[in-house]
């Protein structure tokens, strides 16, 4: 059941992305409506897919690699939809749908076997810690996309050569605000996720922090974002620098999520 749903979801994201790209190039309103509708449907199907998998596995499906990546894509899609509900950013959807599709592609490549839950993970902290962290990552991903859009737009304005993006992307101000808004949701959530993890660690292993690679990298990522948020609030870092920083910090997020699992060993490695 969940398998089938995943396939359909994947196909729907694919169509949504294709429609978004067509819209991005042609700027026809009708295409945008189609793209939005498909994306919304895809996100809903995705939710059903995760629920179905939850019922099949009997635990929240964010333990295997496939599950984690899929859940990450889901959190990006929904944090976008949530954001979309409050604010409008021209052509944001195109970029978000591309990233979501990429993640879904990675999830589709991975093994979809449902693994029994390791005893260490059998705790109600698992959904709390992992889902908060991944939802935070969703918003941070949006900040990163905002950063990329900012850099593309700024490049054209600074160089005074207007190409594909100038007319299609929103104003620099709007993109910078997007960065700010996503950070101000994503960063507190990330902090919360780390705290939850550390309390869980105390219960499961007896100490709050063990410096295993995943924890270390989370801390590094957290520090990067903390620096960005701090600079934004105190000296008014913004624009290009904030955009670059969001991208770099998000790369750290990705590394924490995968790089650590594949390259380094530690207590979090069961997730592979």
């Amino acid at each position: 059941m969940s398998y089938l749903l995943f396939q359909i979801t994947f196909a729907a994201y694919f169509l949504a992305t294709a429609a978004y790209i067509v819209f991005f190039v042609s700027q026809k309103r009708r295409v945008r409506i189609i793209a939005r509708t498909i994306f919304l449907v895809a996100a809903i199907l995705h939710t059903l897919n995760i629920l179905a998998r939850y019922l099949e596995a009997g635990h929240i499906p964010i333990t295997s690699y496939h599950e984690t990546v899929s859940f990450f894509a889901w959190s990006i899609a929904w944090s976008y939809l949530l954001f979309r509900w409050r604010y409008t950013i021209k052509n944001f959807g195109t970029f978000v749908s591309v990233l979501t599709l990429l993640l879904m592609f990675m999830a589709a490549m991975a093994s979809r076997e449902i693994l029994p839950l390791v005893p260490a993970l059998q705790s109600w902290w698992l959904p709390v810690h992992a889902s908060i962290a991944l939802v935070a990552d969703g918003f941070l991903a949006l900040a990163c996309i905002g950063g990329i859009m900012y850099l593309l737009q700024e490049r054209e304005i600074k160089r005074k050569r207007f190409g594909l993006f100038y007319s299609r992307l929103p104003s620099l101000e709007a993109l910078d605000r997007l960065n700010y808004q996503c950070l101000s949701v994503g960063f507190p959530l990330m902090t919360l996720g780390i705290i939850a993890g550390s309390i869980w660690a105390k219960q499961a292993w007896g100490s709050y922090w063990q410096w295993d690679p995943k924890e270390t990298w989370s801390l590094i990522t957290w520090l990067l974002y903390a620096a960005l948020v701090h600079q934004r609030f105190t000296v008014g870092w913004r624009g290009r620098r904030a955009a670059i920083m969001s991208i770099v910090a998000f790369l750290a997020v990705l590394f924490t999520l995968w790089g650590v699992t594949f390259l380094l060993q530690g207590v979090h490695t069961y997730a592979a």
Partner: protein, 430 residues
Amino acid sequence: MPHDSIVLLGVNHKTTPLEVREKIALSGGYDEPLASLASVDGLNEYYLLSTCNRVEVLFATGDPERTKGRVLDMLFGDTVTAEDANHYVYCYEDEEAVRHLLMVAASLDSMIVGEAQILGQLKEAYRYAAQKRTCGLILNRLLRKSFSVAKRVRTETRIGSNAVSISYAAVELSRKIFGQLQGKAVMLVGAGEMAELAAEHLVGQGVSDVVVANRTLERAVKLARRFNGRAVSLEELVGQLAAVDIIISSTGSPGLILNKDEVKSVMRERRNQPLFFIDIAVPRDLDPGINDLDNVYLYDIDDLQSVVEMNKAERDVEAVKAERIVAEEALKFKCWLDNMEVTPTIIALRKEAEHICRAELDKTFGRLKNISPGDRRAIEKMADSIVSKILYHPMQFLKGGNTRLDRCEKINTVRNLFRLDDDNGPIREP
């Protein structure tokens, strides 16, 4: 019975120099000239448009030649000599007039092609005319058509999406940097005409605060007053940078008046809020290196010019599309007008036939006393269908567009054949 001619008289920026336009412009609003047009003989429907670039009057009349002269006298007689009027005023009739109006509404005839203001002005002019009930069947239809054509052009082409003057380009760029211009402040350095124009556009887009810095304070004060702003001296320039967002520089200074380090020094105080410098002075006022600073953007006159050129090229392509739309819609309107001619004849013909049919039925029913209501209805139905079958071909003849006969001739034929214009009316009784 042909319909009224549609006539459009007017002057615009292309045909007429500003000195003459100034005199002709209806500065006192629409009420008075509309009222005076009411007294012109032969004007069945009329409407007036006056903007800074054009004055046009559109009317429907049965006698175009005579009415034209009267309208010209009435509107421009006091201000311009007859010779000037003949020289500058253009006159379009019927299809040409329709096409011109649609071109104007779609902003294809504007000084800045594609600018959106004209449609609003047209609507306002129409509102006045509608209040005074000076528009009838034809002009109401035509003007509404012009609004929908303008909208169609706007949605189907990208004609309005590009800035094609230096000052518009400056506004457009500001919007790409700042998003909303509400609450932003602009500083004019040097009080040139072009800077003034750009400032005017920016204020029109919501910029709330204007600061003028000039070598002579007197001129600065004067200009500042125009925008409800404040004046500062050139020495305060760097200090003022903390408080403004857009700087338009146009001094006659031979060297640079602001360098990179000076700008850099204020960015901390500004908490890195973006700054947009527009340097329209030749030789340049601002250090080109300023553009390398983070969150600071500098455009000089050549940069703006190239933006304008790029937009113009694209706009010309779009204008071709837009003109195709206008031609298409003008043709549709012509079809409607032509049908207008035919419609009264069709109505008269059908009415006449129904009249005969009714009279004959009444006579028959008078003799047939004992028929059931069902039979009665059947007979009525039969009579109706005989009438419509007989009229079918004459109607098609009237409406049809394929015959080589002139429309007027066709109408005449039908009217003669059925004696629709006969004073005694067609045959009533044998």
